[in-house]
Symmetry: C2
Subunit: 590 residues, 2 copies
């Protein structure tokens, strides 16, 4: 038996590298190399810091920034996305691993590797099944609320490093209580380093750029220099810690970091570990994908390029599998590093591969120098980075616009802060789906009449319109399906009971985009119950797809009245002075 | 401090008994008593059989048919509903208790009592919070599929009693395998009794009624006599078993049933038991409620009475609590017994209270006589009763009408049979919600044009219509919310990219019943991206509620084009020979 040879299209779909590698030339390579150098410098402290945030040894952050970048360069479709460890996913990794209650560093590392593996397999599968649309189940406000709440949690979780104390917890309350309990053990030198580094980094972010602009630098270069602030903080505090032997004064340092390229590693296949990590891995995958794809889409739009969300799933999936086999932890496309990559001129995903080489060199050369790096410095870089994610304005925006969105975002923020990241984001998703369904469960139904002198029908409560005697015309403003099927039947019968003398009920369906089998059954029941009261039921302005489906059922045959193409046709036919013509006409669809 | 005195309305809402008890008279009482006698005779074998099905001692079936009926008579709103143990709920009870892995009869009984208690509290709470609409999340096809599959499972679970063998299992495959493993141990006398009883009961159902009609009985009386068939089977087989001492020949009998009124009982408050039983209790409550309320609604409609679904929740909830405190198990309104009650002339819920007295007398007098009742007879009554529930036609109906409904019902049936009742019904509910959302995730969008000589706009692919040069008019056939927000943006931009020269995009919103915050953001983005290409975006036929909301945002202010009351207005304004007038007009809503 021979495998069917893959077609050219399939190859190009699954290996986007083929598209750009053919036209790769010296100019493109130069642009990519420059971008890679800048991103590498930025990524080294970030990688270390996010490993710390995830509760993992520092070197795992570097390992997660090598092979995953190569995998993304081969399988990803964004020209500018820079993958690696990111803040929110690292926080979720810490929460997931925390559930396992492990104590030895080796087990914890194995759990992180396994989490990356499960997440990678899940993302790749979603991509191959073209299920990228699943990410749409996260509404914008829920994402915004979740990222804001995560930012607050992450910042709070780093305070212990700033104070140099032992504190823990996965919720805001736990973190705050734990910090207060241990605040007496504060190491003053650590505090000074932490506060200075934080203040310095805030200044770099807010004050350095205008200064560099004044000094004559272009806006892009000024921005890139400002992004290198963390490197300066790392270098200076490391030198200080080394020079004054601060390790002996209780300042916690990164310590021994193994030198050398990442080791080959394999995930655990322990069933109970998979059971515990499965849901967190799914949530990490979806949150990571949503974050990554929105960055990729924003950057692609700026250069009028396109990304393919389903192939992005495969790109991120293989990156995570690559992370798992090279001693890393879950990765995704990061916002700030991708923007730096883009601004620095990266033209193809090859820039990512060059960055991987840069980080690889760092693991070979720089690791001994990291011994004296204070953890407080890394915490400061995290705090400053995540506070830029914190934006509570989504609460105000949704409050004014939609109480449903406001409820979903509030629940997401409160539950993320007080119960945890997984509960928070799950509750946000489920609540927004539930509230959406709830809204449709009692649809808006308007009695309508003719706007004089036109053929238009409008709500009798909002406009001056004419109605016909003995005719009740209701416009149904919702698709009809199982959740609201019963409501419509009850509503129409109630309205009918209120009317003195009624011969016709006309249901206007311009906004009915679906009639499912449950709704079909209630329409049949409604038709029967109205016929018992000698009331004829008519439909008007039924949409094409809905009409196609109704024609496959018995309903149109049993319907006591007619289906009119337009509401105006119904008006003309049901007018008291209308010419006789009660036999059923051929039905027509919009 | 004094409690505020409840208003008259509140009292009447929560105690429907007050409504009918005032006008209760001798005639009504006579009708109710006659109905009660007939239902009592029918309920005795049913109660015993469903206790057996639930894996509980026979007397618990009787206990579950006394106090719950009194509670429903006080709190229920249906005049004809007869509550007690029913087939599907008993099957679900067996499955729920099976998960606890208990072995002693006392523990199993306590678990059933606890299940009834949790279910009762849950239903009562739902009723007090007026959350009856939650039952609408079960679509009609899912319910139909679930009941059909449950019927098959129940019949299969009773075969062991017909063969007189030990067999078990909660799924169809387990049951079939287990029966084949033990078929060699078949007790031939049991098999003869079981098969004869089953054949007799089928004949009673199909053949007796026509016979009685021929003999001159009215149709209602003939029907009621036919429903008494199980009692005849019980009496005859009990006498046979007693006369020939069949118990000594390996025929399993009901055996010792304690004599006396139900004991006072209390649920367990063991936390781990509650954790295991919570989800099953919720599912049992919702399935029981849906089944009960649909029977109640059907019967109420026949006499032009109304039932109040929220008060029904309280009626069923208190019935289950009553069952829990009197040694019973979960109950709900049963279909066949309610129809018998209705046909026999029950006029008020008092008929239920009289039935309770009847069953109470049975526990005092009849229980010794049940010793010789073969279990095979009870199994036969169950098999014949549930096979009438089995109706696979829902598969054919939904296949022709809607593939989405077909998928949901198929999943429900297959999973119920092969995995279990809880997984089956949960999957049905979740799948129908997911598929509904999925359908709305890629909305139907039609390009429309003017039907010549009218003011109507129709799909260019379905009708002969006119379009304007440089204008793309799209009718969006779906509410816009987070799941499809992104789709619309991509779709419109793609369509725009296909057009040669475009000045205006008009989005027609007659079927857009909602624009949530996520969709608002994409509309803003779309407006911005189109403006970059010098294309003006207009909206037409925006519904009142949607317009109200858009006016609370910045979108209408930023919109490059206008909002037209009708699509025809937009046509007139955008026609090449239209008079100039490009300044933004006041927006108007439907």
């Amino acid at each position: 038996m021979t495998m069917p040879r893959p077609t050219r299209e399939t190859l190009f779909r699954y290996l986007p590298i083929l598209t750009w590698a053919r036209v790769y030339n010296r100019d493109t390579a130069t642009s990519d190399l420059v971008a890679a150098v800048i991103v590498t410098i930025m990524l080294i402290p970030q990688s270390l810091a996010y490993a710390l945030l995830a509760g993992l040894p520092a070197e795992m952050g570097l390992y997660a920034s090598i092979l995953p970048l190569v995998a993304y360069a081969i399988f990803g479709t964004s020209r500018a996305l820079a993958v690696g460890p990111v803040a929110v996913v690292s926080l979720m990794t810490a929460a997931a691993i925390g559930q396992l209650g492990l104590s030895t560093p080796g087990d914890i590392a194995l759990a992180a590797i396994t989490l990356a593996f499960i997440s990678g397999v899940f993302l790749t599968l979603l991509g191959m099944l073209k299920l990228g649309f699943l990410a749409n189940f996260l509404s914008h406000p829920v994402i915004a609320g979740f990222i804001t709440a995560s930012g607050v949690l992450i910042a709070a979780s780093q305070l212990k490093h700033i104070f140099g104390i032992d504190a823990g917890g996965h919720t805001l309350v736990e973190l705050v209580i734990s910090i207060f309990e241990h605040i007496g053990e504060t190491n003053l030198i650590t505090l000074v380093i932490g506060v200075s580094a934080t203040a310095f980094l805030f200044w770099v972010r807010k004050g350095l750029k205008p200064l560099l602009r004044k000094a004559g630098l272009g806006p892009r270069m000024a921005d890139i220099f400002a992004k290198a602030g963390p490197v300066a903080a790392v270098v200076v505090t490391t030198l200080v810690a080394w020079a004054f032997g601060l390790g002996d004064h209780g300042v916690r340092l990164v310590g021994e970091v193994p030198t050398g390229l990442p080791p080959l590693s394999a995930p655990s296949f322990d069933l109970s570990m998979w059971q515990t990590l499965l849901l967190p891995a799914v949530l990490i995958s979806i949150i990571g994908f949503v974050e990554s794809v929105s960055v990729a889409q924003t950057l692609a739009a700026k250069r009028r390029q396109r990304i393919d969300p389903d192939q992005e799933l495969i790109g991120l999936g293989t990156s995570n599998i690559a992370s798992a086999i090279s001693g890393g932890f879950p990765v995704t496309g990061g916002f700030s590093r991708s923007v730096v990559n883009f601004d620095a001129g990266a033209e193809t995903p090859a820039a990512g591969a060059y960055t991987a080489v840069g980080i690889g060199i760092a693991t070979l050369v720089l690791t001994p120098l990291l011994f004296f790096l204070p953890k407080a410095t890394l915490a400061a870089t995290i705090i400053v980075a995540v506070l830029s994610l914190v934006d509570f304005s989504i609460l105000k925006k949704t409050w004014g616009y939609s109480k449903v969105d406001f409820t979903a975002v509030t629940a997401t923020i409160v539950l993320t802060l007080l119960v945890g990241v997984e509960v928070g984001v799950s509750a946000g998703v489920l609540l927004s789906i539930f509230l959406h369904l709830y809204k449709t469960s009692k649809p808006h139904v308007a009695e309508v009449g003719l706007v004089p002198g036109t053929q238009h029908f409008r709500n009798v409560l909002r406009h001056k319109v004419e109605t016909l005697p003995g005719v009740l015309t209701l416009r149904v403003d919702e698709s009809l399906y199982f959740v609201n099927a019963r409501f419509l039947e009850d509503y129409v019968l109630e309205r009918v009971a209120e009317c003195e003398k009624l011969d016709h009920v006309v249901l206007m369906f311009p906004a009915v985009n679906e009639v499912d089998h449950s709704a079909l059954e209630t329409l049949e029941e409604l038709n029967r119950r109205l016929a018992e009261q000698n009331i004829t039921l008519h439909l008007t302005e039924v949409k094409g797809p809905v009409m196609d489906r109704l024609q496959r059922s018995h309903f149109l045959h049993d319907l006591s009245g007619r289906v009119f193409l337009s509401q105006y046709d119904a008006w003309c036919a049901l007018k008291p002075d209308a010419p006789e013509g009660t036999e059923k006409e051929g039905v027509a669809a919009q």
